[in-house]
Symmetry: C2
Subunit: 369 residues, 2 copies
Amino acid sequence: MMQRRKTRKIRLGSVEVGGDAPVSVQSMTTTRTEDVAATAAQIRELERLGCDIVRVAVPTDAAAAALGRIKDAIEIPLVADVHFSHKLALEAIRQGVDGLRINPGNMRNMDAVREVVLAAGERCIPIRIGVNSGSISERRGLDVVPDASDLCSLMVDTVLEYCSFFESVGFGDIKLSLKASDVPTTMAAYRRVAAECDYPLHVGITAAGLPDESIIKSSVGIGGLLSEGIGDTIRVSITGPPADEVRVGIQILKALRLRPPGLRLLSCPTCGRCEIDLPGLVESVRRGLPEDLLDEDLEIAVMGCVVNGPGEAARADFGVAGGKGFAHIFEKGERIKKVAEQNIVRELLDHIARRRAMVTGRDSAGNNL
Amino acid sequence: MMQRRKTRKIRLGSVEVGGDAPVSVQSMTTTRTEDVAATAAQIRELERLGCDIVRVAVPTDAAAAALGRIKDAIEIPLVADVHFSHKLALEAIRQGVDGLRINPGNMRNMDAVREVVLAAGERCIPIRIGVNSGSISERRGLDVVPDASDLCSLMVDTVLEYCSFFESVGFGDIKLSLKASDVPTTMAAYRRVAAECDYPLHVGITAAGLPDESIIKSSVGIGGLLSEGIGDTIRVSITGPPADEVRVGIQILKALRLRPPGLRLLSCPTCGRCEIDLPGLVESVRRGLPEDLLDEDLEIAVMGCVVNGPGEAARADFGVAGGKGFAHIFEKGERIKKVAEQNIVRELLDHIARRRAMVTGRDSAGNNL
């Protein structure tokens, strides 16, 4: 039902971005890049959570010199985030990173940029041209703060000028990002650049804040753009652990069915119709589900009453529709049994375990039946 | 930068929905509607949080009979949520509710529906025609579970048929909703119905689950539609307290600048460049901000390093850009002072308080200067 914008495909190590490649999830380390052990450990945690591409800051010579060793210790592609200094970018390329991000807002000497582009071209390393609202106006030597509409134009124009320069050097291995801290400005900038070129887009909201604010702003902005078909790789920015960025990014993709949704636990918001403790029930079901089920394409609906209960329960693989002091358990539309309220969680989980055992030939401990 | 779809305007009590009216935030009570005191108390809490319209379930005669007393005890418009029984709908109208929601999925006797529509017309009470994925297939007597694309068509067709019937009775005071538990299906249904008619739309994702999942699904789905200009009133469904629904709904609108954004606390995700404890710093700033500031149109940027720090800090009303063991404090682009890390929070909050006192002529305790 969703048509993705047609983009060129680029490749960061083993991960493709753009074209028909699945939308990938990125994050960025918060460790000191110079600390190889800490940085590699954080990246390995992100890998376990499903992160596809990771970026590290390269603010110093020591950070640049650490990149090769970090790369040796991890599986996913490594992107070097370089600002101000083309020398650091060149060293990152020599260290064998899988991608480079530079910021037109603070790398203004185009002879230096040409050196970086040529070096990246030799090694077939793609470059992200990434502008941010926080660093854009400097480039233009503006001494007034642009308003939202000017900011949007400024970001788009800056990125496209940079693209033209890269193309003039014969380099097209490009990814773009245009992140503002304001959601509508960000969305407008991506929409405009998407209409102007076919480079793959890295989508995110910058400086989105603490988890509460960022999760909503990122879901609205990144999710909204993806739902229009815009975006080839995403990064959720959260002031907090990067593991949260990966979890939220994956959930955004799952919500839009851009990634296999895995187990979905549907539940109604409850209202004056609901005669059982639904939030408690849903929490108990979630806690009780075996971990190996979480990646399965499975829908479990836990519904409070007869309005949408039987319907959602019937559409789901397994379902519960609550009544007064009892519930009906469903499987693929069939009413299986009526159980007392205090037994709902156990009966539902037992039923799921039995059915799974019949399908897999193994019990929940993994033993053959 | 965002163009809202042109819709007819309807009115629920004192609140307009559609046309040029601001997008409103709704929630639904979780108390037993028969319990007037508990229901009114919950609604008053929602009012304090900024809820614009509230809905209550009307599953019984006693619930219907309580509606007048609930309405007397609250300020915001009251909507009766009625399923199955047109008699309950008629009683709700007699009780003076400001709006009615009926579900084509379970009110199938069109003579009965006509009675409800005529009664609502006499009292000038708008009706929401609200279908849900969980209750739609029953209406069609389907014994197979429709797939996502069929479900989308089924929801759109059902709603539009109901609209035609209402129009044939001379009733146009209509609002529509088409909620699936799946985000892409919901978005597709709203997009299609938006292209087919100009009735205002009540937007939401149904059975979205526990807070973690629902906040992301709702932000993506509701936020994505709003960013396309679709949606006149919204309801976030969370398996949990309705206060959370209101908070998240308001944050979605603020993220899209569909409601004055109030105080924004921007902060970067931190990376290997950051040499101060940024998450701790941002949390401390948030905790330290006086409550009367939260509704002000004010941007405070707390940034970890020199890449986007000075830029975001310059765009913000007040800003902090961190260095190694120190930070610069900014006000509207001007560097005010350099402070040691341990003093950042106090210095920033003191500076903001001083500036505010100069503007308002009052100190933070509200005393005239």
